[in-house]
Symmetry: C2
Subunit: 449 residues, 2 copies
Amino acid sequence: MDSFQNYVSANRERFMAELQDFCRQPSVAAQNWGMREMADKVLARLERLGARARLIPIAGGAPVVFAEIGEGARTLIIYDHYDVQPPEPLALWESGPWDAVIRDGKLFARGVADNKGNLMCRIHAVEAYQAAVGALPLKIKFVVEGEEEIGSLHLPQFVKENRALIEGADGCLWEAGYKDVNDRPVISCGVKGIVYVELHARGAARDLHSASAAVVVNPAWRLVWALATLKDADDHILVDDLMKHVRALTAAEMDALKTIPYDEDKVKADLGIASFIRNLTGIELLKKYLYEPTCTICGLYSGYIGEGSKTVLPNHAFAKIDFRLVPNLSPDLVLDLLQKHLARRGFADIEVKLTETGEEVARSPLDSAIVRAAIDAARHVYRQAPVVYPTMAGSGPMYPLCQALGIPAVGAGVGWHDSRNHAPNESIRLADYFEGILFVRELIGRFAG
Amino acid sequence: MDSFQNYVSANRERFMAELQDFCRQPSVAAQNWGMREMADKVLARLERLGARARLIPIAGGAPVVFAEIGEGARTLIIYDHYDVQPPEPLALWESGPWDAVIRDGKLFARGVADNKGNLMCRIHAVEAYQAAVGALPLKIKFVVEGEEEIGSLHLPQFVKENRALIEGADGCLWEAGYKDVNDRPVISCGVKGIVYVELHARGAARDLHSASAAVVVNPAWRLVWALATLKDADDHILVDDLMKHVRALTAAEMDALKTIPYDEDKVKADLGIASFIRNLTGIELLKKYLYEPTCTICGLYSGYIGEGSKTVLPNHAFAKIDFRLVPNLSPDLVLDLLQKHLARRGFADIEVKLTETGEEVARSPLDSAIVRAAIDAARHVYRQAPVVYPTMAGSGPMYPLCQALGIPAVGAGVGWHDSRNHAPNESIRLADYFEGILFVRELIGRFAG
């Protein structure tokens, strides 16, 4: 072990305690729960690191924790977020989402994989670098926002108001990465866009006895009929004209899929599914996964959903839907197409409510310096070539923070294939966490040049 | 005022207090909440009336409160139930569902209209009759069950085991009735059948990040697609062969509709709807309301339904659906048709769960003695001819308790057009309650002959 590894090893228990402390602070942006407390925690930790840190307010939004540390020819942005997904459904957690219990070599908590583990791992790597190796060989700028899980509503505004802090950076370490079902490290070089909407159907002035349903409109049925026009049972999106806007793939994009070893059988076994949608497999499966848009019912509600039977005609029904976007779909375009589609089919009475402003697609060049540094660092630390995804299937504010300013970004981190982001029993493995610290050290060294 | 009216008037406050006491005892069959306590309350009240009362247990079900009082040539069954619907959604109640608050001449409580008000009104009428008029001129048998709101699951078993207590009765006063939007008393001579099911769709072993929805099945979508095959946007039931089983209407059935004054504009204004389904009006509207089956989504759930956005791929979705039945649809038939319909369309994976055993259709002859007595009594008390519905749009165990034993039944009671049965802010008007007591007295006199 070298001095860096010795330092990490000697501070292992404190590092874990610090991560648990982060995870025990609820910070649910969707529920505006604990946001300021968490921002203060992150600020204090970055100050203890020796960084010039501050909260940068954004009108109407959660503040960004911004911090600078180190000097060098190159500047690396480290992007993370201090907000987490809602913990519901609570009943399915084996230990409380805010208990941050360590069990079987894993830390279980809402947000530990997405994204507090990565944030703390990077802080610990910088601390260890400075303590055991010396001064940082580059400038690092932490950008830690508080609204990632609600679509980074105000991050574009932050960039607009603080452009000088961001532009000119040479690369960005994006928030996350993980090991796949065969424990191969996965790094990714882009994100899908997203637009998240609620559809609300309304009926009579109040709930009625269901005997009235013979003659009085049922908004639950209207919602079902409207939804059924959006996607067919083979998972083809039917929103008028939407698929026409999706641009054809380039040869390079198709080639990138060929390098991805995707263990379909293990993934299926892990998820408990017999097959993927449309029985897709191989390149066609990856193509749909990474390069095609989605239209997903994330939530559905009407009437009585408790135990037993209640014979009620509901007067309200809603669905929460996210669309994941690929080039050349934008949030505004999809929203517009959706509204026109519904109106054309007689569903103009169904309210389409935008719950987020949406996010644009972004993809970084696979041959950029930050991507190459990440690949090299991963090969060194994990002793195998990482799997390189040209884009994640998920989303994030990579466009406004990076691509719009010409900054390439790469995602790498401490998740594992069963991290259960956004779901009950979210976890990271402790071994991955400490390997992640080594990875960040190697990335710093290689990217500094 | 005669002595009967004097007695009622003198005991007005106690009568209200007794009704409030009934309403303050939760008795939600679907949630198995307070059932035994309520049965004991009803038993004690009937004993105080001087009836020979007892709880008759049914294996696996809530006991029936059975009581006999009076002697005479004729026997009248009074059918009521001591269970109520669940109180949810609680937030929409202006006063608590168990507070039984009197406000603006109305009593607000879960179950006050359906059906505790009617039960207590009948008890009070018998009390006043005995105190102010004399011995009852007929035999009355109270049958007060505890599972009406969950489909009278065990009432057929009760009848089977206690047939001698029921058979030979000359008529039955069914649980409820109300005044319409123009304050005309409504009596009804039948019920629709019902079958209540849950459809459950399941996906991966757990909830996933919605990025996975590009390739992993979404049970919320499968449920939507399956539901959309059950009924079209014009409210035609599409379950294979279901409508073929509905028998044609007789001339007498169509004639019965012509006598019903249905104030469509007032009903629409009251419910806050611009039109009825398919813009129906007149006889066609009444025909659909009373003589056609329904397929109603009473509840719908999947994924995240809290505030804000959660990008989750749910692993479970369900719908609660009731079918109201007309001749010749039976619960078993509809369940069978539904399962075959779904399987035929590739939805065999969707579990169809019966939450109640279902109820058969029943209709009593409009010229039977009990119906004629109710019409005469209503005309006398309300000083206008009642509106006679050949059947309610709702359901109840009229088939096993009455029709199967050749006992005609008629529904009449103390509701009003805005009683909000099964919904928040359920109420009766106090004036209707006390008029209802006079109605029961007149019915007793007329039916005894």
